[in-house]
Each structure stands twice: as structure tokens, then as C-alpha cells.
């Protein structure tokens, strides 16, 4: 067999031993593949990257009812027409995504544990707690329940990070975390 370019047909047997440099290159690539491959399950299981949430089907209308009931039960204030809700520690918290708002504004206590239920009543949205790297999909028809414990006090923003129509960039919600004693 003579040498050929990629454009011509190699004749005869071309299954020949590789040059040492190619073997090294192949070994490096293979080793790196294995590292990346191992990272996938490790990141999932050990990296604290993917929490196992409760995931259940829910009719958007039902989720809207639950959210309204939640607001009626624990509303403490109102900012620009948006209810501010302060649920007791340990309770179920409902956050409803819709074009183009997060309803309601949540006031949570630092160090307390809550079950946060996320869902949408129209299209897909994305829950991104700014300035943290916390991201969840919010999908209509699915209730995503997460065990959360706020670790820092402050006034945080929820930015929608899934395109949801023309007002997508205006869809900003609020989570206010207060120190336990203040409330």
C-alpha cells in the first residue's frame, strides 16, 4: 500500500500498526474521555449539582388555585400590586410562573427549611435565583417540589432564563430572606 490522501482510495490492507506519536495521541484522548465520562455520574451524585426534587403532574388550573390559597393564607404585605407572602418555616411554598411574572413575592427565614413548589400556568419558564447559580426548569403541567433552606439574608431577584415570549426579559421576581428573629 502506498500513502494516500483523504481523497483517494487506499488499496490493499490498510489495517497497519499506528506510529508511536499517534498511539500517544490516542491514549491521551482516551484517558481524557474516561475522565469526562467519570465526571458525569460523579458530578451528579457527589457534586451537589442535581437535587432530587419531588416531581408530580399538576393541572395548571389546580396549581393556580393552590398558589392563590397559599397567598390568601400567608399574605403579609403588597408591593406594587404583588402580594408579599411569609409562610411559616417547614411549610409548602408555592411560586407560580406566568407570562411575565413570578407570583407571589416570597419572604423566607434564613436557616428555615421549606418545600418550594415551582410550576407554570402557561409556557416553559426558567427559575434563576440571581445572583446565585441556581437554575430550575419550570414547566406547565409539572409541579417541581424542592427542599430548600435559605442560607443568606437579602433581597434577591428571580430572573426567567427560558424564553417565554416577548416580555421574557421583563419577567423578574423577588425572594426576600430575613434573619429568623426579625419577623
Amino acid at each position: 500500500m502506498t500513502v494516500t490522501t483523504g481523497m483517494s482510495s487506499p488499496r490493499g490492507v490498510w489495517w497497519k500498526p499506528a506510529h508511536r506519536s499517534e498511539k500517544i495521541w490516542f491514549a491521551v484522548a482516551f484517558a481524557w474521555c474516561m475522565v469526562l465520562f467519570a465526571m458525569m455520574p460523579l458530578w451528579h451524585l457527589r457534586g451537589g449539582q442535581n437535587p432530587t426534587g419531588i416531581r408530580a403532574r399538576v393541572e395548571p388550573a389546580d396549581f393556580r388555585d393552590r398558589t392563590n390559597e397559599f397567598i390568601a393564607s400567608y399574605q403579609v404585605d403588597e408591593i406594587d400590586g404583588m402580594p408579599v407572602v411569609e409562610p411559616p418555616p417547614g411549610s409548602d411554598v408555592y411560586l407560580m410562573a406566568m407570562m411575565w411574572q413570578w407570583r407571589p413575592i416570597l419572604r423566607l427565614q434564613r436557616g428555615a427549611e421549606y418545600t418550594l413548589h415551582l410550576s407554570s400556568v402557561d409556557v416553559n419558564h426558567g427559575f434563576n435565583l440571581y445572583p446565585f447559580n441556581v437554575n430550575f426548569q419550570v414547566v406547565p403541567g409539572y409541579d417541581y417540589g424542592l427542599q430548600i433552606t435559605p442560607t443568606e439574608a437579602g433581597d434577591f431577584r428571580i430572573v426567567c432564563n427560558e424564553f417565554c415570549g416577548i416580555g421574557h426579559h421583563l419577567m423578574v421576581g423577588r425572594v426576600i430572606v430575613v434573619d429568623g428573629g426579625d419577623s
Binding site: T2, M7, S9, E22, Q49, V123, L129, E162
Partner: protein
């Protein structure tokens, strides 16, 4: 080195400069390859439409850039999202897949000294792809499909948007079929000796990935098209999962085709020889076997998060 002459290109070079009149082929003055008229025209047509899509996608990219650049802020929200949709579809679907079809015709035709198996079917498929692209462009530019590239259900576009993508995918699938058929014809008519060239081999892996991609596309866009007309329901989570079978792997066709073209350019520009056919071909095979598995990180990483 002046010119692309290499040992093996030169081996082919002698021969009539232009093909004999009426013979249905010409001889490429640069490579010495025999180019049948059908292959010639099909390659050109696909490559030209691909380039037009690249132009549209590139202009849209400028629109995106000049809007995100706050000092300029060229477009309002409506046109920003519209142009972002235009950018995604033209770059990631129309440009790359049209160009890949040109690559397939080149790899099975001229590189194997072979005629195209069913040129009329090829032109029909080209027509489907072009009509599909036209429908999608119409829907996007007239504001009937402001849904971005991913078009996650239940964000709804005009039914013709989905129909256009379906026609495009079917056309591309038929083109891949013509490519496979041409490989069979070349083998049967003994238009080459030994194994197919490495570039053809790489194009074949791209074609296999293209089949996987386009079947995913059909599997999700046909129900979504029916949904857009109110004829059935599509679950948003199912949509996301299946859609990415298209979204990821459409880029992987591209990777396989691109690496093949690197080998081609290496040969054409500096006469680069293949160091080891075994290594190069094994790498292509491994890519086909494992890339889809690597894409499966997606359902896992999707809900990535870190606790605050």
C-alpha cells in the same frame, strides 16, 4: 508547493481536460476528478442555498450583537427575539444541513468517480428542503414564529413553521438515501478500487448521524405540527427530551462532516497524506457509536443547580 498536486492527485490528473461533449461529465482541472453533470449541479445548488442561509444567519447575528451591545441597542424586544430565531434556524439547521448535503454528493460522486444514483429524486429532495426553508423563513420574518430555535411547546408558532421544518427534514432524509444509493452504485459498477477514500468514509458517518437526527426531528415536529393546529396534545417535557435528539445531533452531523472536510482540505492545499487509515477510520466509528451517548448527559444536567 505550487498548486495542489500530490502524488495521488497527480496520478489522476492526466486525462482529457474537459469531459467529452455529451458524455455527461467534466474533468476537474484542479483535482483531476471526474465530475458528472448531475453531481456538479446538485453540489452547486445545495452549496449555494447553504451560503445564502449563512448570509441570512450572519446578518441576523449582527442584529443580535448590535442589540446586546448596550451602547447601540439596535432592535426592540420584538425584533430582537425574531432575529434570534432567524439566526438559530439559519445557522444551525439550514446552513449546516444544506452544506452537508453538498458534501455528501461530493463524497459519493466525484470522489468515487461515480454518477449520482437517482438525480431526479435528489432534485425532488432539494425542492422539499428549499420549500421547507422558504416556509420557515416566511413564518419567522412575518412574526408568526417568535419562538426561538428550540420552540419549546407550548409556546406556539404558525403551523407552517413546523410544516416547513418537516418538509426540510424529509428532503434531507431522502438526500441521505440518495447518498447511500450512490455508494451502492459505485461499489457495483466498480468505479473505485480498494476502500472508499477517508473523506467519503467520514461523510458516511455524518450521513448516519444525519439519519438519527432527522428521525428525531420528524418524531417531534410532526406531533408538534398537529398540536399547533389543535389536533393533539404534546407534553412539554416530552417535547424537550425528543427535541434535543435533533438539537444536539444536528450539530454532530456537522462535526463528522467538518472533520472529513479537514482531510479534504489537507489533501487539496498541501497534499497531506493520511498518517494511518486505521486510526482515522476507527475514530469516525467511535464517534458514531458514542456521541449519542455523550449527548445523554442532557436529561441529567438539565436541572443543574447548586444550593444557595
Amino acid at each position: 508547493m505550487n498548486g495542489p498536486g500530490t502524488a495521488d492527485v497527480a496520478r489522476r490528473a492526466p486525462g482529457p481536460e474537459p469531459g467529452p461533449a455529451g458524455a455527461g461529465f467534466r474533468t476537474c482541472p484542479t483535482t483531476g476528478l471526474k465530475v458528472y453533470r448531475d453531481a456538479d449541479n446538485l453540489i452547486k445548488a445545495h452549496a449555494v442555498v447553504a451560503t445564502v442561509a449563512l448570509l441570512i444567519g450572519g446578518v441576523a447575528a449582527l442584529g443580535v450583537l448590535l442589540t446586546r451591545w448596550q451602547a447601540v441597542h439596535l432592535l426592540d424586544a420584538v425584533w430582537f427575539y425574531r432575529i434570534l430565531t432567524v439566526h438559530g434556524m439559519n445557522m444551525l439547521i439550514f446552513f449546516i444541513i444544506f452544506f452537508e448535503m453538498a458534501v455528501l454528493y461530493f463524497a459519493a460522486g466525484p470522489l468515487l468517480n461515480c454518477r449520482i444514483a437517482a438525480p431526479k429524486v435528489g432534485w425532488g429532495a432539494f425542492g422539499l428542503m428549499a420549500v421547507g426553508m422558504g416556509l420557515v423563513e416566511w413564518a419567522m420574518w412575518t412574526g408568526r414564529a417568535d419562538v426561538l430555535f428550540t420552540s419549546y411547546v407550548p409556546l406556539r408558532a404558525h403551523p407552517n413553521y413546523y410544516l416547513g421544518i418537516i418538509l426540510f427534514a424529509v428532503g434531507a432524509l431522502v438526500t441521505v438515501g440518495v447518498f447511500f444509493a450512490t455508494l451502492v452504485v459505485a461499489r457495483r459498477e466498480r468505479t473505485y478500487e480498494g476502500s472508499v477514500p477517508l473523506v467519503t468514509f467520514g461523510a458516511l458517518t455524518a450521513a448516519i448521524i444525519a439519519v438519527i437526527t432527522l428521525l428525531h426531528g420528524a418524531a417531534i415536529y410532526i406531533p408538534t405540527w398537529l398540536w399547533s393546529m389543535g389536533l393533539m396534545n404534546v407534553d412539554p417535557e416530552v417535547y424537550r427530551l425528543v427535541w434535543w435528539g435533533l438539537g444536539h445531533s444536528s450539530q454532530q452531523i456537522n462535526v463528522a462532516a467538518m472533520v472529513s472536510i479537514w482531510y479534504l482540505l489537507g489533501a487539496l492545499t498541501v497534499g497531506a497524506v493520511v498518517l494511518n487509515e486505521k486510526i482515522s477510520r476507527t475514530a469516525f466509528v467511535l464517534y458514531v457509536l458514542f456521541i449519542s451517548m455523550a449527548s445523554a448527559h442532557w436529561p441529567v444536567s438539565l436541572r443543574s443547580k447548586r444550593k444557595p
